[in-house]
Amino acid sequence: MNSTIAENELDGDTVLKAENVKKHFPADDSIVDKILGRSNSVHAVNGVSLSLQRNEIVGVVGESGCGKSTLGRTLSRLYEPTSGSIFFNGKDISSLSRKEEKKLRKEIQFIFQDPHSSLNPRRKIGELIGQPLEVHGIATGSEKREQVKQLLREVGLDPGQIDRYPHEFSGGQRQRIGIARALAVKPKLIIADEPVSALDVSVQAQIINLLKRIQDDHGFSMIFIAHDLRVVKHISDRVFVMYLGEIMEKAQTDDLYDNPQHPYTRALLEAIPNIDSESNREDTILTGDPPDPIDPPSGCPFHTRCPEYIGDICENEKPPLEGATDHAVSCHWKDRSTKERLEHAPPGGTD
């Protein structure tokens, strides 16, 4: 599908490379389906290819239910992919033994969205951050404690608070604890799944700056998952826009924001509340919800909501993800001009 892009990305040192990864979950079948012997599945991730360079931060953006979290979990092997291959440091990790998996856990760490539910409330933060050090045999005892203090300092917390419990911290501080824990084992790849969406706007900025700074200091790669393009812009080198389990557009960050090609990317950009000017965006708001991933639409998955729908081709044929090496888009009507776009009225069939 996008072999030319994949080949180019192999140059340099690739940390992670995923090819046509799919993750389907079994869905409840109705009685009728059972009698007819059909089985349904949720197409959470539907053929995603991506590669990640050393020290690169890639943003993955999309609405709830687009499969971005599932993608993150599949790439880090918290889920086993249904099909496709994932190479981490040149080694295939699509199927691993338990022992190999444990080793992988040290290399790939996760930062979760909700700092309230991802920290065990009964354990002191020193234990929480120190646990990975012990599990992976990096440090124990007083050495472990020293390292934990150092980590606390690094994420901007007071090392004197090492014996406190998570509930004594605010949301932003708890997210810092989560970051310290991910950082403890010096991973090569961190997957951050909506690390700032549960936080106040003012705290979001603090956490984003912190993630950038420690990435500068330690040098790891990161997949940063979010639904807000504002947040992604400041931290990512490249951005992938996902919809219904597929990549709609991928580009270098500046290029994506200056020159968004996919109607879905544009809709996401226009949805952002703009503080610097009074907007009048009534007519550009994307209507409806994403379709059901159990029964995704034929052709282009976005055609049911697309403001730039052009006709049967969108419904019948899936557009390939193609374009220049570093800016690819999956759309049948790529070469349109702004004028054409603005004047376009979709033929009947969409709303």
């Binding site: 812009k233 952002i272 503080i275």
Partner: protein
């Protein structure tokens, strides 16, 4: 405009805790006109939700509400009996909560939940006695022919839910987040209220769905002629939808005025910082501007400006309580010693030194306040 729908004068809400008295809302006053969308903005822990809950008197038994007056539609809520308050909640004031998944009852269909409100507070001729309600809810279900059900369906349609007859029979888990929030809005509108309190109604939603819900609320304001109190931590959202806004910090009103003034010409350093830290699509800075630190503990609060611990303009006077000073437009008010006319000189010095402020704000590197 006629008389305002809501007037809150000097509201203070405190809770007694083991460590001492916690003042969650400290001397807050505001007025909301009919048909107005009024924003309350601030970080977590700044007392915005407690302010709203105090109006509805939905405070824990450990809490104490004090105010000179809370006038709603000409009626003083402070002197109203429990029964009168209960009648006002739901019928004259609706509430929309942040998290629709936990605020809707998971074992009842959304139509059932909305129809119940219609029967309790609306003007339909159907019994809402306890046993009839129990029978309807858990045995027979509301008849789809009954006026309350029909009203529920028409409300779902009004808030933009497609195929409302079908969706009314769905349970909350069968709806997406955006649809659930629309159902919550339909429920709040069920008794044709005068005022809706929306507590972070879009914070849990995707940006695309947030835009839809904001547009919907604006349409409903026109259609139902309802006033809305809109609580959020995002000034970007405030700009989209509100007419006037109050900026709260640590339970106090820091600055208040019309949205345009507050956003384009903020006077309080806290408001300036809140605006500066919003990531923008248009800026290419490597580091975001941040205001380090957290909201201070509200237990045994020290006198003076609560923002002084984080404020870049902090000076001697800040340990004493500031008055409210008139700002640049008609109803613009700011509570900060820098804007005391007697301190003009101080302000001038500060502004001259603002270059220093830009480069010294911790962690923000090339940050600074955009003004």
């Amino acid at each position: 405009m006629t008389e305002p729908i809501l007037e809150v004068k000097n509201l203070t809400t405190s809770f007694s805790t083991d460590e001492g008295e916690l003042i969650a809302v400290d001397d807050v006053s505001f007025t909301i006109d009919r048909g107005e969308i009024f924003g309350i903005v601030g970080e977590s822990g700044s007392g915005k939700s407690v302010t709203a809950l105090s109006i509805l008197q939905l405070i824990d038994s450990t809490g104490q509400i004090d105010a000179d007056e809370i006038l709603f539609d000409g009626e003083d809520l402070l002197s109203a009996s429990d029964e009168e308050i209960r009648q006002i909640r739901g019928s004259k004031m609706g509430m929309i909560f942040q998290n629709p998944s936990t605020s809707l009852n998971p074992v009842l269909t959304v139509g059932e939940q909305i129809a119940e409100v219609v029967r309790h507070h609306g003007d339909v001729d159907e019994s809402d006695s306890f046993w009839r309600e129990m029978g309807r809810k858990y045995v027979t279900g509301t008849s789809t022919q009954s006026p309350s059900w029909k009203r529920a369906v028409s409300l779902l349609e009004k808030v933009g839910i497609p195929a409302p007859e079908e969706r009314a029979k769905d349970y909350p888990h069968q709806l997406s987040g955006g649809m659930k929030q629309r159902a919550m809005i339909a429920q709040a509108l069920a008794a044709d209220p005068e005022l809706i309190i929306a507590d972070e109604p879009t914070t849990a939603l995707d940006v695309t769905i947030e835009a839809q819900i904001l547009a919907e609320l604006e349409n409903l304001r026109e259609e139902f002629d309802v006033s809305i109190i809109f609580i959020t931590h995002d000034l970007g959202v405030i700009r989209e939808i509100c007419d006037n806004v109050t900026v709260m910090y640590a339970g106090e009103v820091m600055e208040a005025g019309d949205v345009r003034t507050i956003i384009e010409d903020p006077w309080h350093p806290y408001t300036q910082d809140l605006i500066a830290c919003i990531p923008r699509l248009s800026d290419d800075r490597e580091w975001l501007t941040v205001s380090e630190g957290n909201v201070p503990s509200l237990v045994n609060k020290e006198p003076g400006c609560p923002y002084r611990y984080r404020c870049d303009y902090e000076f001697g006077e800040c340990t004493t309580e500031s008055e409210k000073f008139a700002g640049s437009s008609a109803n613009h008010q700011v509570k900060c010693h820098l804007h005391d006319p007697e301190h003009d000189e101080q302000l001038a010095t500060m502004e001259r030194e603002s270059g220093l402020y830009d480069s010294q704000s911790t962690d923000s590197i090339d940050g600074g306040v955009s003004q």
